[in-house]
Structures are given as structure tokens and as C-alpha cells.
């Protein structure tokens, strides 16, 4: 179990690196699908079966299809390197490393690996999630449906011929 977490965690990090470093958007999109699928496996290992399935169907399926479709539609080719910011080129990687180190240090301070006990596993099937969603979180759920409606209308308006 634990070994699988590290294998798929490493895979997710490598694929995320590839998302960031690829210059061609299609390669980035395909790498992002690898990240999403390996995160789905990690969710499964953490006992979130329902969300693992949702992750594959909605994220790796629907959302990424949308991305790939737009990349193909707009014929997004290799991006040209920019020469605008020399400061960013020199300071970028060290600043990122400092940021990551700082946050990781804070995480280790607050949740030392040996002294953070896990609660007993809870059942996270669709039934349990659904009961919580439709009982405690009914209002946010309804607000989300309005959000989806607005998003659909907005997408249609934006995609009209004359803007």
C-alpha cells in the first residue's frame, strides 16, 4: 500500500514537471492527464474511492477533453521563448526552491511523520458522500448548480461570433 503511494506520487511529480517544462501545449495536456490519473490512484489508496472515480471521469475525462479540443481547435503550436525578464530567469528557480523548502519545513514542524496518528478508516462510498452532500451541504450544492448554469450561459455568450 505505502509503496504504491510513493510510486504514483513520484509519477505525479515527474508528469507535473513535464507539464511545466514542455513547450508544446498538447504534450503538457497529456502529461496533465498522467498527473490526474496517478492522483486518482493516490486518492484510492487514501480511502476516497468515490472521488478517485470522479477524478478519472470528470477531470481526466471531461475537463481534459475540453482542453485537448481547444488546443486542437486553436492549432496551438510550440511557444516561442520569451526574452522579457532576465531577473526571473536568474532568480526563479532559487526562489521556488526556497518557497518549497519553507513550506515543507512548516509541514514537518506541524505534522511530524512519526507522531501524527491516523483516524480509523471511514467508509467513503457514494452513499456516505451523498448523505453528507444532501444533508449538511445542501445549500452549497444548490449554489453550485447556479454556478454551473451561469458558466454554461457565459461560455455560450463568449463563444458567439461577434463579441
Amino acid at each position: 500500500m505505502a509503496a504504491l503511494f510513493y510510486i504514483f506520487g513520484a509519477l505525479a511529480i515527474l508528469a507535473a514537471l513535464s507539464v511545466v517544462l514542455q513547450r508544446t501545449p498538447v504534450y503538457s495536456a497529456l502529461s496533465l492527464i498522467v498527473v490526474l490519473c496517478s492522483l486518482a490512484v493516490v486518492y484510492l489508496l487514501l480511502g476516497a474511492e468515490f472521488l478517485a472515480v470522479i477524478q478519472v471521469i470528470v477531470y481526466a475525462g471531461a475537463i481534459m477533453v475540453l482542453f485537448v479540443l481547444v488546443i486542437m481547435l486553436l492549432n496551438a503550436h510550440r511557444e516561442e521563448p520569451t526574452d522579457r525578464s532576465r531577473v526571473a530567469r536568474i532568480l526563479g528557480a532559487p526562489l521556488l526552491a526556497v518557497f518549497l523548502g519553507e513550506v515543507l519545513y512548516a509541514v514537518w514542524q506541524h505534522f511530524p511523520p512519526e507522531q501524527t496518528p491516523a483516524a480509523p478508516a471511514v467508509n467513503a462510498g457514494p452513499r456516505a458522500i451523498g448523505e453528507l452532500l444532501f444533508r449538511n451541504y445542501v445549500l452549497p450544492f444548490e449554489v453550485t448548480s447556479i454556478l454551473i448554469l451561469v458558466a454554461v450561459l457565459g461560455a455560450v455568450v463568449l463563444a458567439k461570433k461577434q463579441l
Binding site: V19, P25, L147
Partner: protein, 100 residues
């Protein structure tokens, strides 16, 4: 069982990579994908905490984040298509008319 710190470390690294890509990349679609990467990193932290605290509220939050990400992708990609139609370019170096 994987320690919570390792789950959060994976989440932090993915988030950091997303931030880096957001700043480094010049293609507007790739920038958008880096935002999705950051959202996923946060989802992972939510699920890790949900597992370690033994309650499901975190997973419901992830559910909402996924819904919002879907709506955001639909609207954002429509905006990208409109930008491409008006500016004939996907590079954010060409989209600096609101810069000082």
C-alpha cells in the same frame, strides 16, 4: 500507512510546480493547465486531512472544487477562444494592453 507529512509534501510539490509553470509559461492554455495542477494539489491535501481526521467533510469539499474547476475550465476556454479570435495570438506577451 503513509504519514500525513508525506501526503502534504506531495501536495506542496505539485502546488509549487503549478505556481512555477504559471509564471514561466507563455502560452495561455498551458498557464490554464497549471492552474488545474494547483487545484489538484489542494484536493490532495484535502483528502489527506480527511483520511487523517477520519471525517468525510474534506471529500465533499474536493467534490465542490472539482465542480468549480469544471465551470472554470468551460468559461476560461471560451475566453481563450474569444481572445484568439480577436488577437490572433495565444501568447500572453501579446496580451499586455492592461499593463502600465
Amino acid at each position: 500507512m503513509v504519514p500525513l507529512a508525506h501526503i502534504l509534501a506531495l501536495s506542496v510539490i505539485l502546488f509549487g510546480l503549478g505556481v512555477a509553470g504559471f509564471i514561466v509559461r507563455r502560452n495561455i492554455i498551458t498557464i490554464f493547465m497549471c492552474i488545474e495542477l494547483m487545484l489538484n494539489a489542494v484536493n490532495l491535501a484535502f483528502i489527506g486531512f480527511s483520511r487523517y481526521l477520519g471525517n468525510l467533510d474534506g471529500q465533499v469539499f474536493v467534490f465542490f472544487v472539482i465542480v468549480v474547476a469544471a465551470a472554470e475550465a468551460a468559461v476560461g476556454l471560451a475566453i481563450i477562444i474569444a481572445v484568439q479570435r480577436n488577437r490572433e495570438s495565444l501568447s500572453i506577451d501579446d496580451l499586455d494592453s492592461m499593463k502600465l
